[in-house]
Symmetry: C2
Subunit: 255 residues, 2 copies
Amino acid sequence: MMNFEPIKKVNSYELIVEQIEARIRDGELSAGDRLPGERRLMETFSVSRSTVREAMRVLHATGVVEPHAGDPRGSEVIPFSPKTLQRPLARMAHQEGTSRAELIQFRLLLEGQSALLAAALCSDETKDEIESRAADLAELAASDSADAVEEFGRVLSAFHHAIRLASSNQLLQATGQAVDGALTEIARQRLDDETHGLARRGRLGQSAQDAAGLAERIRDGDAAGARRTATENIYRFYRDSLTEAERATLEPLVG
Amino acid sequence: MMNFEPIKKVNSYELIVEQIEARIRDGELSAGDRLPGERRLMETFSVSRSTVREAMRVLHATGVVEPHAGDPRGSEVIPFSPKTLQRPLARMAHQEGTSRAELIQFRLLLEGQSALLAAALCSDETKDEIESRAADLAELAASDSADAVEEFGRVLSAFHHAIRLASSNQLLQATGQAVDGALTEIARQRLDDETHGLARRGRLGQSAQDAAGLAERIRDGDAAGARRTATENIYRFYRDSLTEAERATLEPLVG
DNA sequence: TCGTGTTACTGGTCAGACCAGTAGTAGAAA
DNA sequence: TTTCTACTACTGGTCTGACCAGTAACACGA
């Protein structure tokens, strides 16, 4: 069994990236620290500035570093942000082959578990925050302002966001937010269909009520109930726009 | 309320990235297609090659494009890969301790829901595949080959992969794989500690048994049972390496 | 028909230059 | 003395133009 190593053509800029990332892992560099300027780096690494530059581009693109043009202190090492995950997730969601049903299925699952964790673990202040969002929804549903529907969508999104935040899990938060974003964007793109918007209009009250029920279960620390309520609400929200087969793939996650 | 737009300093290379990503989203470019060469791109975008180059670096770093040096056909647009998520996830987990628990929490949740969906929806052939992996594990646990432990890790990973595949959800599959990968990478890096490896060695039998039990529940279509078993198995796997507080954040998801 | 060498490209790297913009400081104004 | 201002010496962003090692494809000879 010829057990050779696969040859890896190493590009110089990747070596620089690795060295800097290693320094961060080892704690020699941490968020807030400044990197030497590009001209200094080209000397310490014995490469041209283009090469240093490409390394910096990669580090910037992956959310490791933030450049500060004009600042003599050089680029800054920044802390991890969920936004780093959001980009690739959005890309994946947009990709051909990822069906809308899968997206909804994934959302159902994420929001359900978020609600569960929120009910089980989060603090009273956070529960206040969630209930406050639910109250916002009720108020909006009662109003008959012209753009209440659109505003309702935003506030509903904020409500779910608060729950994800309450789950105290950054990953859940980032993925949930990404999926939410992807779905609303798809909705916006496909909504030449006026009826859907109008249909939602008729259900604002229902949605607000759902949210209130969910907030209450989270308040009570009823983890299982919160999960069930969250999934049921979301399922109801999408049900009418799905085919029979699609519903079948969602139902195992509901209730 | 002065409602001005926040100014966005746009770097040229970012505009190029956006244009190319937009083309991909709109389906005008898709996996396998080739981008024009850098010299061609600098003309079409009216920028210098450095700028084109930095754009390409970003696209490459975010897993959108694969360069082929020397190939006259230019860089290739590649399909989405979970590896794209794996890097930022690993980085996030490396940060200040706290997030390892989050990673495990997230994994617990993903694998649990995967098992649930697999049990509820997947075909008989897929169930065969899962049971076959479980059998591999049992065989390995019984053997006493030198590198059985390391091999066991790989096969265990394959077992979970099969379950995620059976969930028929690409998002679940990709995120699950990324989290799995990130966790094993962390384990590898922190494993100066020999004892952990040895401890696992003592538990190969247990793990294989767990897997068999999970496979059986999936075979039976026992969705709730599959979810419970999957979470319990994973929880047991990590329990001893966690603090009391970390365990508390995981327990709501178990059982 | 089948190798084979040439060729015209590719991406990776280098060098050196200019620009707009910022932090910090030295000096002018109060 | 304090406050404001102009300057300076840097920063990152962009450009130009060049060389290299490597590859795909094609024309060519066997």
